[in-house]
Every structure is written in C-alpha cells, then in structure tokens.
Symmetry: C2
Subunit: 375 residues, 2 copies
C-alpha cells in the first residue's frame, strides 16, 4: 500500500513546486506547517487553520506521550479525531525536545533516558518506542528518532550522526503501520562532509521523505544556507525535503530557493502570543503606543481575517488590555503570512519566475526591516 | 428618525417573542446577549459569535472609557468597526461597575467620582458624561446612568431609586444622537412597591426600552422571580424589557416566562474560562479526570462547533495542558447553549407551547443538576 506519494509539479532552478499526498489529503509544496505542540496550534481552532489555508499540521510526540499519553489518543480515535483536524498531520519523534532537556537526559547507544518536565518521572525513548508511540497517535507522516547536538562540535556531530543512522535503521525495522510515511532525518551540524554523508546514508535507506535536522539551532544564517546548498545535489529529486524548525518569512524563501519543500516552526505562533506581527516589510510590535489610533490593518496586502476585519488600533488595545483575542488574531495573521507566501512562491516556481520573485521579496524585506517598529 | 423599533411577534402567557430592529440589524427575542467587556467577547472572534447565532453584543462603558478611551474608539470609526462586530451593540452606562468599586467611589446628587482600577486616577461620571461617552462609542442601544445598591436595604434603595430617576431624566435631556436608542433602568431592590414605582416612573419618561437593574446582585432566586412577577403588569407591553446581568440557563427560562425579552451576563463566558460547560442536564467540569477518555461531546444534542468536533477527552486534555483553545471552545459551547435555548423558547412561544416547554426544561434541569459532574 502506498499511502504516501510525492510528485514534483514544476521546477525553477533548485526550487520545486510539488504535491505530497497522504491518507488525509494533499499538501501542495512548498509548504509551511503550523506547530500544534500539545495537539492544538495555540490560540486557533482547526476551522480557523483550515480557513487560513493550512494543509499540514505538526504535533509533538514528546508532549503527547507525557500528556495525555498516546494510548489515550489512540483509544478516543487517533490524533486526527482527537484534535479535530481532518487534514494531514505530521508528528516529530520527540528527539529534539528530549535532547533540549540538557541535564535531564542521558543518552546511550540504545536510546535516551530523560525526566519528564511535567512531573520529573523517568522516561525512556528508543527508536522502537517512538515508532510505537507515533503509530498509536496515528499521524500521516512520522519521524525517525535522531540525535540533535550543538552545531559546531565536530566530534559530537560525528557521534550523533552515526547514532542517528543506526536509529534510522531501527525505526524502519520497527514500523508496522502501512498507512503512515516514515521520514528519515539527516544530521551533521555545520560540517558539509558530515551533512553529505548523512543525506546519502538516510536517502539510501529508502525513506519516502528526507528531513534536515539540527539546523536553526545556533549556527549563523550563512552557515545554514551553506549547508542547504551543499547537500541539495545529493538529495533524491523525487522525494520531499523537510527542513525542521525553520519559519521566518526570509528563511522560508531562502530555503525554498535551495530546494526545500517543507518547513515547520513555532516562530510565527509564538511571536503572535508576544504581540508581534510578521509582514513582508518587517515585524510590527502591536503593543507600541504608535499604533493606538492607527486605523490601518497590519498589512494592507494581506487577505487574512485579522487584516480584513481589524485595525492596528484595535489589536493594540487587545494587547494592552491583556485579551486572549490578541493571540488568536495575531496567530491567524502570522500563519497566513507564511502560508500565503508559500502559495505565491509555489505559483512563481510553476511560472518559472521564482528567482525574481525571491530577489524582490528579500530586497524589500531587507530594505524595510528596521530595528524599531514601522510607523 | 426612528432608528430603533420593537414588535411583539407572538405571546404565550406572559412570555413574548419579539423583534428589536436597530441600525445594525435585528435582534429576535427572547435574546441572550454575550458580554464583550473590553470590546471583545473574551476568547472568541466576531466571526465565531456570528456563527453561533449571537445577534446583540454588549460592551462596557466603564472599561472602554478607561481604556482605550471613547475618543480613540470614535476616531477609528466607532465601536462596530473597532471591535469588528457589524451587528447590533449595546453599551451599559458604567454605573454598575462604578458602584461595585465600593471604597473607591463617592456618590453625590450630581454624579459619582471614582478611582480607575487601572491606574488609580480620579474619574467622574455624571448622566451627561456617560451619555457623551456612549455617543462617542456609538452602540445601537445605550443605557441611562443608574445607582445599583445592595438589594435588602430599603432606605438605600429608596434613595438610589430617586437618584436613578433624576439621572434618567438628565440622560434623556443630554442625548443628542438620533441613531441610538436610550433605555431607562428601573431600580428598587427586592421591595415590590419601590419596583412598581420605579417601573412606572421610567416607563412614563418614554424610553423605547425598559431595563430592570439591581437584580442578581445578592437577593435569592425566589426574590428575583417575585420582583419580575410583580412588575410585569406595569411594564409597557409594546416596549422591550431587559433584565440586566442574568444568564444561567435556568434563570433565562424563568425570566422569559415572566415577560422578559433580553438578558446579558458574563456567567457563560466566565464559566467557560474556568473549564465548565453548561448543559440542560447541569454543568460539566471538564478538568475532571472522569472525562480523560470520554469520546462523547459535551452535549450530544448541541449543534455548536465544539460539540460537532471535539470530545470531552480532548477538552479535558486542553484544560489540563493549560491551552487557550479550551477557553475558546467552551465559550463557543456555553454561548450556544444560551442562544440556542433562546431560539427554542422563541419558537415555543410562537407556537403557544411555552409553558410545557419551560416546565419540561426546568424539571429535567432540576432532576439532573448534581453537585458532582455528570459521569
């Protein structure tokens, strides 16, 4: 059974427009996937996500394993039904969260033991265990367990890469459900030879999608882009490429122009809860007094519900008044900013004008991006 | 110009089905109006309010006067545009909030001086001032300034009633805009003779709508219902009757059966933020462990987005995980519970079966209303 497929619908340079097909629907690429850590994209309903054009939503295995538990999600009908999102879902492996626990985890060849951030209980993830958890959750796309070290320590990255490769093989062997696509994750830090080795190894195992892990974790933007450029020729052209944890407007465009098809990040939703709005001309900090009587929408060119309905003055009022609706409206806007950009970029790729589109977007973005909020 | 009108579409006993017409649309009655204290019904968007069937929304003059200020709202286009709600809006006079400030306000014949709960600044409301503020805000229905004392002190209620009557006359004289309907407020505590005097006085001034203030502020349910019964014959039949600050399912039915057309209350939305759901069979406290694996919706008979989409297990997960979406989904449900009940009651009145409908609803409600959450 091939529950998952990917087709490339058009190319322009290294940029690709494609379609991922899953048991719960299609994902046109390039795509930005909102993150629903605890089985909810914070502050918005699934209906609002659908209305703003989201096609794929992420959820975090680490968080759902600890609360409410994969068995609970399974018993009430699986993750799609549980979170009320009928479209495609991707779960990560939990590896990134566990390795972020620093002093509260101990890694060995077989897996990783860690303390729950909720109750301090001792927990253990192995490749087999995270596949079992993800099979119970029931997402369309699931991820192999990887080790994500700091980006500049070569020895640590070499070790982590070898372990990630062994775990990738074990994840493939452990997988039972045939209605889920398991993506492998390449590591290697900022070291181009390790990155190439990792991409080739992971691609060689036959995963239907290849993720690039361990970027946007402390290295410079230039280093991140250099890694993407160096590995692109080694990535199988017929499979989707997923850059994990990257999601500013600028990074999205730059990564797509280097052959990436899919990205996710908490950045736009977290920024929204901190009262900032993404626009092609930079960020608006809505709490600023300058917006107190500003009748304009966040972005006059944006077609989201927030920009169609509300002024900066109202959004500023909500943030100052501490109203929850501020988070909801800014989340709707910020996700739309990324998802609409993905759609425009896709169109530009199909029409073979991705290069001028990206150049114009980035030039305008850099010209306007100011340390202070826009007037 | 008659920007406001009211028609009685049907009667059954003392219960009435009517239609209020305002410059921003019609309000079928009996109606429950959600409260948007700070120009937002907490945790939901105007689009969600519209989808769940809200027709009239309240906003609070006290809060909006202090922040962002009526002048700001006026300059960015008025309250409808500001809060993105194109339908009918009612603003209260701010009186109730000011009198709730207890030690932080001083009342005199001319008005009331109080300290802002936000910054301690000295503020003053007079009848003329609250009309001016409400004219700047621009709601469809505005309210006269009243004094709301504790319910059982006869001398205080007599004093407050006289002052309320004088202020009602001054509000009428101060009113300039002809596209807003000014409602008067009758006071009188639990004292039937005062209540009758107040209703007759306020009705005699020619207000297009009569509000009953000073109930649900400490008196018993039986006292509240006795007041409603005693004043009903004195209320002009051709004008809408608005019972302020009442909004449980049970109270709503009992008040409508005693001739009330409109109610508002923070109760359903506040309860939602405290993780409780209103149902005809009692309240569900969603945080309870009993719901951890319950695949059922809150109320199988409810047609709201929340009940159509999510299980009790998911709602319980959201509350335990501290996710904002819990407040949104429970607010949608609780407002739907009241607004759908209002619609069913309206239909029953039009079909002259209000008495059995109410009796059956209340019998079932009392039978099932348990101190502990339902299984």
């Amino acid at each position: 059974m091939t529950a998952f497929s990917f087709s490339v619908d058009g190319r322009d340079g290294r940029a690709r427009a494609g379609t991922m097909r899953t048991p719960h629907g299609a994902v046109p690429t390039p795509a930005f996937a909102p993150v629903g850590t605890q089985a909810t994209v914070k502050a918005v309903t699934p209906a609002q996500l659908e209305a703003l054009g989201a096609s794929l939503v992420l959820a975090n295995t680490y968080h759902l394993h600890l609360r409410p538990g994969a068995e609970v999600v399974e018993r009430v009908g699986g993750l799609h039904r549980f979170m009320g999102w009928p479209g495609p879902i991707l779960t990560d492996s939990g590896g990134y969260q566990v390795f972020s626990l620093a002093d509260h985890r101990r890694i060995d060849l077989d897996g990783v033991t860690f303390r729950s951030h909720l109750d301090g209980s001792s927990q253990r993830f192995t490749p087999e265990r995270v596949i079992e958890i993800q099979e119970r959750l029931g997402a369309d796309i699931i991820m192999a367990l990887d080790e994500c070290p700091v980006p500049h320590d070569r020895a640590a990255n070499e070790r982590a890469m070898r372990r990630t490769h062994q775990w990738a093989e074990r994840c493939l062997a452990a997988k039972k459900r045939d209605d889920q696509a398991l993506f492998g994750i390449a590591q290697g830090g900022v070291f181009e030879d390790l990155r190439l080795e990792s991409v080739q190894f992971i691609a060689g195992l036959g995963f239907p999608g290849i993720a690039i892990g361990g970027l946007s974790v402390g290295e410079s933007k230039a280093e991140m882009l250099a890694v993407l450029e160096s590995i692109e020729p080694a990535l199988p052209p017929e499979r989707p490429r997923y850059l994990m944890g990257v999601g500013s407007l600028e990074d999205f465009v730059q990564a797509v122009m280097r052959g990436i098809d899919l990205m996710d990040c908490v950045f736009p939703t977290r920024l929204a809860r901190n009262h900032a709005a993404l626009t092609p001309l930079g960020r608006l900090h809505l709490r600023t007094a300058a917006y107190a009587e500003d009748p304009r929408p966040i972005d006059a060119d944006c077609t989201c519900y927030t920009c169609r309905t509300f002024s900066r003055a109202y959004l500023r009022h909500l943030t100052v008044a501490g109203e929850m609706l501020a988070a909801t409206l800014l989340t709707i806007h910020n996700l739309t900013a990324l998802i609409a950009l993905a759609g425009r970029l896709r169109q530009a790729i199909l029409e073979r004008r991705a290069e001028p589109f990206a150049a114009s977007f980035l030039a305008s973005y850099h010209k306007h991006r100011l340390p202070e909020p826009l007037p």
